[in-house]
Symmetry: C2
Subunit: 513 residues, 2 copies
């Protein structure tokens, strides 16, 4: 059967039957809504100092908008002092411009059941973004290809705890640089029905993202709704390049969401202290968000902070460290005081393998992100080796751990059933609760349970080969890819998307680099 014919065969009753067959493994949790407090590590005085200093940075030092005369004109008109490419923003102006950005927004998915709310008490989880390499237990470390990309989109679709398909889950290095965004978007749109991110590597690729979204959702729908959240990095310190700003401009004009995100290895792209880094993060976000609102007031944006520490012995970035946690907690407080959704955190690690180091560092980061009030967590699973590698095994291990965040965020139920006084009365001193009525009524949902880690008796585990977590994860990867079935999609839409991709690919020669 040709690919096209196969896709057609997937419509109608077949889809329904398929959905039923795979109902369990396709269960996707709703985005997290926190019922627990955030950890507020900075007091009001500290927050006011940082806010004052950030305004001092914007006013005295300023930021550079590079190769972007139109941006300089906008800033001049808004009241900034522009000298060459340096934009100095009077105290208070940036924050005032940011006021038109919404505090929360809905990102729509093609399956409305997968829509996500970004902002407030929500937490939306998206996979790793950007690695040029992949690693799996069987094949080791190698350059990522489009086949890897499709596999990661499938694993994301199959993951119960992942709400978002993400963006560049790995770099498909076998496709030309100027065309790979088309294949990546097509994969997210056809292999998953979760929300996705747009391309940002050139403004024209952002335009392709909007156009393909218009095919998928309908042009009217895209004009009136947010269907993409894309990642706009700031060139820290204090620099906004024309490529990223060009993509931001496309998305803001189209009413599509952008994460405006300093990318900081502390001590290299920002001061070596936490308070200094927070000051720079806030100054950069204030300038970036203000600029988005100059492009289109009301454009949805997210206060981003990708910040980690550095090993001063080797210069290597380090992850899951206490200083990174301090910054993530503090930036969350600053974002909430601006009334903006907050992006940070991820299953970060520096390890080369999905081993104990990877897991310590990732768990440190994931827990901290939940308690920091993060609303959008990119890199929530699959990140390895400082982000150079997308790991198949770590993808499913991290994705499984994301279940703990869902359950933690639920908080403690204090209703009569939760109080369990009847159980205490029934069992009494020296008794056993396993058989009591209350336990029987609650045991199915009482405790989070891993779908991949080992809970077996020692002897069983040994008989089955004494497998470590990475090996168990490899088994799960294989099973999930084997069980995967694409969500139903109108064949006409699929064909139109493919035609768009084919047309755009034919319109220019391949470029690498």
């Amino acid at each position: 059967m040709s690919e096209k014919a196969e896709r057609r065969a997937r419509g109608g009753g077949g889809a329904a039957r398929r959905a039923e067959r795979t109902a369990v493994s396709l269960e996707t949790a709703r985005y997290i809504e926190r019922n627990i407090p955030n950890l507020e590590i900075l007091n009001d005085e500290a927050l006011q100092i940082i806010e004052w200093n950030a305004d001092t940075v914007l006013e005295e030092i300023g930021v550079n908008f590079v190769d972007n005369p139109a941006a300089l004109d906008l800033w001049r008109a808004a009241g900034a002092d522009v000298q060459g490419e340096r934009v100095r923003i009077p105290r208070g102006l940036a924050r005032q411009l940011c006021a038109t950005a919404p505090g929360r927004f809905t990102q729509h998915a093609r399956n409305p059941a997968r829509n996500v709310e970004i902002g407030g008490k929500s937490l939306v989880l998206a996979p790793v973004y950007g690695p040029p390499f992949v690693r799996d237990q069987a094949g080791g470390r190698r350059y990522a290809t489009m086949e890897d990309f499709r596999n990661f989109v499938k694993l994301g679709y199959m993951s119960k705890w992942l709400h978002h398909s993400g963006g560049t889950v790995c770099e498909p290095t076998d496709i030309a640089v100027n065309k790979r965004h088309l294949d990546m978007l097509l994969a997210h749109m056809t292999l998953s029905d979760k929300p996705y991110m747009g391309s940002v590597t050139e403004p024209v690729r952002a335009e392709d993202s909007v156009k393909m979204s218009e095919i998928l959702f309908g042009a009217d729908f895209v004009q009136q709704n947010t269907v993409m959240t894309s990642l706009i990095n700031i060139n820290s310190p204090l620099t906004f390049d024309s490529t990223m700003m060009g993509a931001l401009e496309v998305y803001a004009r189209a009413g599509q969401a952008s994460i405006i995100s300093p990318f900081i290895v502390g001590g290299a792209m920002a001061p070596v202290t936490v308070a200094g880094t927070l000051t720079q993060v806030l100054a950069e976000v204030l300038a970036g968000v203000a600029y988005s609102q100059l492009i289109r007031p009301g454009a949805p944006v997210i206060f981003g902070a990708f910040v980690t520490s550095i090993d001063m012995n080797s210069g290597a970035p380090t992850f899951g460290t206490p200083e990174a946690s301090h910054i993530t907690y503090g930036a969350g407080q600053l974002a909430r005081r601006m009334g903006l959704p907050y992006r940070s955190g991820g299953a970060f690690c520096g390890s080369k393998l999905p081993d104990a180091q990877a897991a310590y560092e990732s768990a440190n980061s994931l827990n901290m992100a939940l308690l920091s009030g993060v609303n959008f967590m990119l890199h929530a699973c699959g990140w390895l080796e400082g982000g150079l590698v997308a790991s198949y095994e770590k993808f499913v291990l991290d994705a499984d751990q994301l279940g703990t965040l869902h359950h933690l965020a639920q908080g403690v139920k204090m209703d009569e059933n939760g109080q369990a006084m009847d159980a205490l009365r029934e069992v009494g001193p020296g008794g056993h609760f396993l058989g009591c009525e209350h336990t029987q009524a609650n045991f199915k949902t009482a405790f989070w349970r891993s779908d991949v880690l080992d809970y077996k008796p020692f002897e069983t585990w040994e008989d089955e080969g004494a497998r470590d977590s990475a090996t168990l994860a490899a088994v799960r990867v294989e099973k999930q890819l084997r069980d995967y079935q694409a969500p139903a999609l109108d064949p006409g839409i699929a064909e139109a998307l493919e035609a768009y991709v084919a047309g755009r690919k034919a319109s220019e020669p391949d470029a690498f680099g």
Copy 2:
């Protein structure tokens, strides 16, 4: 050289030179004093419900004091309703009796620089307690011996981030059950100068612990100061056996500290819900602490909570789960409302190997314990396979991660140097902070750095054998045991301790079981 001659040779100038040679590896951090808030997941209403319900449990259901007529007499005299071994405690009485317990106390070490404060904002870290097995990469899983015990005491002594030598770091199964406590105490007293725990497995062994401490510190000192913190487990649900209570009685009378700790696998020894488990934990601690104060008002005690969840599919206890975190957070709030020091947390995991599962679960537990306001954390390193195994590699991996807790707890420095405005002014947009003056002045202390995990470039790491965390940890274990040198001890004291152990051993036949 005989052992005794060797010990003698360690006095005076030799010790000083040795201290200098090994100064770096013997650096021990002071116990943690938190400069960050705790996470309070329960609101006042929830806390009041749990406190009311706990008093209802004590009044209506009561607790059993088993094989302990003297305890029943004390309870009767205090106003409780005693029927058989069941003690029903009128609402409010237990809390009232608890009021004489101190909110914080000092546990002295034979090296005063290693004294620890337990209570308030402090966090004291102690190693794994109780495993009958050990595991290392070279030898696999096997029954623990006295040689293993000594090795773990040495590793604890060598660990920068561990404040406490602990107690039964593993069960030396090659020594008779009725004598092994003597060898264990001797090891803590001679191979380390950090504070330690006493024996609790029979009242007479608690008495041995007091007597050996009197040899080490002097009898007067022990009468006037706390030199041991020992672990008294409650037989949940709601049962206090005569062995553990007998040990508690010895320690309370001697002014020595006890952790009074429910030992709960939720759904088995307590209700399957978080609020129900917290109710039982509070009722048990109220009864146990009240009893300690009936023995001796003012005896130092710790509100303990060892609580984890269960895998309802297999019945296996599970670790690092969100429900265990909820309970740990909530119990911390209850302990603070009683004004008592709090023991909980640990590097818990169910994994059979020091792999990703072990590290996810342990990091979840460690982070949660810090933010729960734990004052004394047993099992802070080395715990594997649900506590059945003390792992050499995990001991050093966990102990290294304890450094992150120290740095997290410091909070954010907001002085002028922390604000780093000069650095921001010096570097400016597009610059680099690595070379700036502020970075040079601060880089040595700015970021926590692992002593065992891998931060190397990929190529170097690959050339060196592509080692995972467990393998790197095995290297560190070997190095620490090779570098270990015992802290100096007055030879007269060492001889007296050995004579006490020899005498006690000769006084009764070996018993196993």
